[in-house]
């Protein structure tokens, strides 16, 4: 199965909203650190959950370039397509 970036982004938002501490008005353009108030460890732990949901590994160095939920979705889509 190969999800589109938009589908992955929607799945990430859904996962995030399962956490009651996350603001309710997030979308694909939300910034993970600034808008979600995640510290570095929280980001890494959240990405680990997404990795398991989508059966993909996101190397930590890729996270340095990721600011928004859509950035993360695009990165995962790229990794899953084997590029």
């Amino acid at each position: 199965m190969s999800e589109t970036p938009a589908q992955i982004s929607a799945l990430i938002v859904e996962k995030l909203l399962a956490n009651p501490k996350v603001p309710r008005d997030i979308n694909g353009g939300s910034r993970i650190v600034e808008d979600l108030a995640f510290d570095s460890l929280a980001v890494m732990n959240f990405v680990m959950e997404i990795e398991d949901t989508l059966d993909v590994s996101v190397p930590l160095d890729r996270l340095a370039d990721i600011r928004t939920i859509d950035d993360l979705a695009n990165c995962i889509a790229t990794l899953k397509s084997g590029q």
């Binding site: 570095s40 460890l41 680990m48 059966d55 993909v56 590994s57 190397p59 160095d61």
Partner: protein, 399 residues
């Protein structure tokens, strides 16, 4: 914007810590040690329960004498790196002693334990390789991964099945896979399921590095750590450790049977570009190693003390980690309460470490204590009593 603007949040956080308890928890000064278990803090003799000095050897008389003799005969520093003028005969002797202790072909000695991880991991795993790190790895392991530009995949803490799953996802990708685990984890004192990690390594063809910084001298029939206890030393490609815990001095090492170890000496930047250990530290370390090797009863005493502290805290109604090891952490929920608790304990004459998220697992603040072989039962009972009293005073336990 000033250069320091990015620290504004940190400045506010530290101000809040002081407001919560009066002290800067990261600025405690031990004015002088009285013994391995007692130090003078704020002018008062205070029980030390947060030092990593597991065997009490920082105050071991033969180490002190050996250090003094080495300083008299060889001076107090090398003024150079290992690849220039900083390798004395003592450095070679220490490396041979460490290799022999671990029954390994070769040992490299670094100036600190932090540098041992930094220098080993960054050199072994380059940008085309994968590092698989336990999620709760020490900062020196994460920093080593960044210095070497490897691709880093975290796996769930102490979870060999999760590691296996993540290695399987990398099937077919080029690059070597180096797995890094710790013997005992420094925050909660939990112990790696080393035999299961070794089985994953065998099945997947990955390489395995074990950081036994907190377990050497503590666990294993001969004190070689968790891999020895679990009978899987042959599966560990590299063991990294430190002299600054059970051996009571400073410095770090990596041991291995791989014949290419000498090449690392020529490309490990934290090994090449820093001054080597001074002679007195090497002499003290070798004296402490003799004690560690020849007095297994120290490990028996240490584990007995760990059991006494752990069960005492549990009986008092406090939440601790599940494993009984020389690191015993009281797990709390609220940072302000943890700070008040830590301050009250120091008021009552017991020093422990305050550990705050994100440096702690699961975002919980911790009061991290470590026991020594040299603590007396009475000192441990006093500490447990102080933990319970302080918990009541700050509302962690009902008054």
């Amino acid at each position: 914007m000033t250069l320091f603007a990015k620290f504004d949040g940190l400045a506010q956080a530290i101000d809040q810590l002081r407001a919560d308890g009066g002290r800067n928890p990261f600025g405690v000064v031990i004015e002088r040690p009285v013994s391995s278990t007692v130090g003078v803090i704020e002018g008062r003799e205070t029980l030390l329960f947060g030092t990593n000095n597991y065997l009490g050897l920082s105050q071991y008389a033969p180490s002190i004498e050996a250090a003094a003799a080495a300083a008299r005969s060889m001076g107090v520093g090398t003024t150079g790196s290992r690849i220039a003028n900083g390798t004395f005969g003592l450095h070679r002797e220490l490396e041979q002693r460490i290799a022999a202790f671990f029954r390994r072909r070769d040992a490299m000695v670094f100036s600190t334990g932090y540098q041992a991880n930094l220098g080993t991991i960054s050199t072994l795993a380059g940008k085309d390789d994968y590092l698989l790190l336990d999620a709760d790895s020490h900062a020196s392991i994460y920093d080593g991964s960044r210095l070497g530009y490897a691709q880093v995949v975290r796996f769930r803490h102490n979870d060999p099945d999760d590691l296996h799953k993540r290695l399987r996802r990398l099937d077919g990708t080029p690059g070597a896979k180096l797995v890094v685990v710790e013997g005992i984890y420094s925050m909660m004192g939990d112990i790696a399921p080393m035999a299961e990690f070794a089985a994953v390594k065998r099945e997947t063809g990955a390489w395995l590095l074990a950081d036994e910084a907190h377990s050497v001298g503590v666990i294993g029939e001969h004190g070689r750590g968790v891999a020895e206890r679990d009978g899987v030393e042959a599966d560990i490609d590299f063991v990294v450790g430190t002299f600054s815990k059970s051996l009571g001095t400073v410095g770090g090492y990596c041991v291995s049977d791989h014949p290419e170890m000498d090449l690392l000496r020529l490309c490990s930047r934290p090994y090449m570009f820093t001054a080597s250990l001074p002679p007195e530290i090497i002499a003290a370390t070798m004296a402490a190693l003799v004690e560690l090797e020849h007095r297994p009863e120290l490990r028996t005493a240490l584990m007995g003390n760990a059991q006494r502290l752990h069960s005492g805290l549990v009986r008092a109604g406090l939440t601790t980690g599940p494993a009984v090891s020389p690191v015993v952490a009281v797990v709390l929920d609220d940072v302000a309460q943890a700070v008040a608790y830590w301050n009250r304990l120091l008021d009552l004459g017991v020093y422990v470490n305050l550990s705050l998220p994100p440096a702690t697992p699961n975002q919980n603040p911790l009061l991290r204590s470590s026991v020594m072989a040299t603590h007396t039962p009475a000192q441990i009972d006093t500490a447990v009593e102080a933990f319970a009293q302080a918990a009541r005073d700050v509302g962690v336990l009902p008054a």
